[in-house]
Amino acid sequence: MKLQRVSAIAAREWREIVRDRLFFALAFIVPALLMLLFGYGLSLDVENIPFTVVDYDRSALSRDYSWQFIGSRYFKFQGYSDSESEAGRKLTSGQVRMTLVIPERFGHDLEAPGRAAVQTVIDGTFPSRAMTTRGYVEAINADFSRERLARLPVLSGMKGVVLQSRYLYNQNVSSIRSLAPKLIMVVLMLSPPFLTALGIVREKENGSIFNIYSSDISRGEFLLGKLAPYVAISTFNILTLWCFACLLYQVPFKGDFAFFLLASWIYVLCTTGIGLLVSVLVSTQVAAMIVTLVVTMIPSILYSGLIIPIASLGSGARVVAHIVPAMYYADIVVGCFLKGIGPGALWRQLLVLTAYALILFSLGYALFSKRPRT
């Protein structure tokens, strides 16, 4: 292997990328824009859930109870409904996602003093949202019941048991803090393989790769030179994304920057390797685009712990999660940003990523042949 040839290939590839102005611009713009859009849009906080109340009781107490919901920032009041069937229609049409029905004797039963029944109906179309809504409803009911209890003479002066909760890693429990580091993982999973796969398959499809086949450049020299510019672009993008997370989303960076950079770089090698492998297997750019998109985008979002914790995955999906490098890198970024832990706790993940990169590159190397069969 000669360094001179590698650099010649790399220089040629670089020139081709730079001359295609739109492509060159997109190579930097796409990751930045995705980070921006996802960062503002992919908020997991469930707030302002639209809801309606059917109040058959119309007592002071029932109004007081409804106000627990109306005044909460988690719910957004969409007006009273006259009957359950009207509320049901609103739920079906998607106007509201929760309906609260307060029966006639609500106030009376509570004053007795005793148990009063209410009914809530939740739109279950999107289970994660339904689950969160359910949690909020339960919490509000529990608070309200506790307040009524405290007025009871039997329990006057009661101290009770208090749960002191402490939120770790994300004190204000804002989802952007937990999301932003993982978004780096997603964006670095999306753009490098795409760049790489398209870059290599382009030569295959328009035939310019025959120049390589017929030259005395070795496979290794070609692949290294070809990939180098893409790795360079992605390395620059690591820094951009890091700046976005720290400056725009104000996520505190608590870990070791050098370690973060090294791990990210190895991760970029992995994702570039995925692009390489795809490009060796397919022969058209259409196929390259689609295969890359399906193997990278969907697992990096669904099976990486971004939205769904790994612990909640079923066995099949968990296998996928362990095969894709995203999960290991997610541990590293979250560790570096939020938990402030370093190589001591994360060396295993780094090792997996390194092995992953090595395997991908050797596979790509082994499968790339200068003597294509057709």
Partner: protein, 384 residues
């Protein structure tokens, strides 16, 4: 004479359609992948995910070792919590949280049971990993309820209240019902939304690629000098890809979602497929738009990710529109998937009919017409 003109147009259209199908059929890798995406990939997503807070791994540090402390810990149970083990040193707990082995640390101080027995009130500490903010919030909320309930019960017992008093405690009993997916079956949501995602990916990429490929190879010049109008070139491409994608949706629905996950089809299948066709058409317009702007496939590919990723993940399936900033919400209203999502879930799970869905259907169609017209005029300007 009009009829002769129409026959000619139809023949050209049919010839172009056949060409598109042949071209697609020859890319074996691509075909195999389309099949994989519409079957196995959806199966994996539908079978693999459970979204609820279930068995949050909890470690317990009990310095009290009293009957009361043990009972309270015993109440942190399934489905929300899973008490995994006891630990003594703070350091171990911290390490478990750092590595993600545990999500929750419960710590009961010495004298917990004694304080409670003397009516002085007691405290326990809960440390929660809120890396996932929603789950963290839910865990704390459930924990608070457990603790409060335990406090009230033990206080009542201390003051000698009988079981009858306890039943008469004022409070709200909530009967909770969940509509449209009563068992909170996550596979319904995951399966359907993954099917829509895959359909979206192909609707943007396939037509875009089919057009840019012609540009890159220069065969589009041949088409332009033929008697075909720009519309006559673009339209068969969109129709061919629409057929393939709608067939894919049918495969997913009839071979994966209905037989394996018993997704109820409450509404009309005819309406669903008609809406899907309209959707694929609309989305294909977006792809063609990207294709007219770009000169080669590499550019088209990057532009497609830029269009696709926000479409897929900001559609409203994962993140409700209410939680987004205004400018993004408007962007979301421009995405056809936002409407298709409501339509598909509405027909399949809620049993909504055409009348209920008239608004989203017209909005989606409107976007489609707008985008296709824009793409067509750009394409014309480029070559005419």
């Amino acid at each position: 004479m009009m009829s002769g003109e129409w026959v000619r147009i139809w023949r050209r259209f049919a010839a172009m359609l056949v060409k598109e199908f042949k071209q697609l059929g020859r890319d074996r890798v691509l075909l195999a992948f389309i099949l994989y995406a519409f079957t196995l990939d959806v199966f994996l997503a539908a079978s693999g995910v459970s979204l609820s807070l279930s068995s949050a791994v909890t470690w317990v540090q009990d310095f009290d070792h009293s009957a009361a402390s043990r009972e309270l810990v015993g109440r942190f149970q399934a489905p929300y919590f899973k008490v995994a083990r006891d630990f003594d040193a703070d350091r171990d707990g911290q390490a478990a949280l750092d590595s993600g082995t545990a999500m929750i640390l419960l710590s009961l101080p010495q004298g917990f049971g004694r304080d409670l027995a003397q009516g002085r009130g007691a405290e326990l500490a809960m440390q929660v990993d809120t890396t996932n903010s929603v789950l963290g919030f839910l865990a704390v909320s459930h924990g608070e309820q457990i603790a409060a309930r335990f406090g009230i019960e033990s206080e009542l017992a201390r003051r000698g209240a009988s079981a009858r008093d306890e039943a008469a405690l004022p409070g709200v009993d909530n009967a909770m019902r969940v509509w449209f997916n009563p068992n909170q079956n996550d596979s319904w949501f995951m399966g359907i939304s993954e099917m829509l995602n895959i359909a979206t990916v192909f609707s943007v990429l396939l037509p875009a690629a089919a057009l840019v490929r012609e540009k890159e190879r220069g065969t589009v010049e041949q088409l332009m000098v033929s008697p075909l109008s720009p519309f006559g070139i673009l339209f068969p491409k969109v129709v061919a890809m629409t057929c393939v994608i709608v067939a894919g949706i049918a495969v997913t629905l009839f071979l994966v979602l209905i037989p394996l996950f018993s997704i109820p089809v409450k509404g009309s299948l005819l309406l669903f497929f008609a809406a899907s066709m309209l959707y694929v058409f609309t989305t294909a317009g977006l792809g063609l738009f990207a294709a007219t702007v770009s000169q080669n496939l590499a550019q088209a590919g990057m532009l497609s990710i830029l269009i696709l990723s926000p479409m897929l993940f900001l559609s409203g399936a994962w993140t409700p529109a209410e939680a987004m900033p205004d400018w993004l919400r408007w962007l979301m209203y421009a995405s056809p998937l936002h409407y298709y999502l409501d339509i598909a879930f509405g027909i399949l799970l809620k049993g909504q009919g055409a009348a209920d869905l008239a608004l989203p259907l017209t909005e989606m169609g409107g976007i489609g017409v707008l985008v296709l017209a824009l793409g067509l005029s750009l394409f014309r300007r480029q070559f005419a």
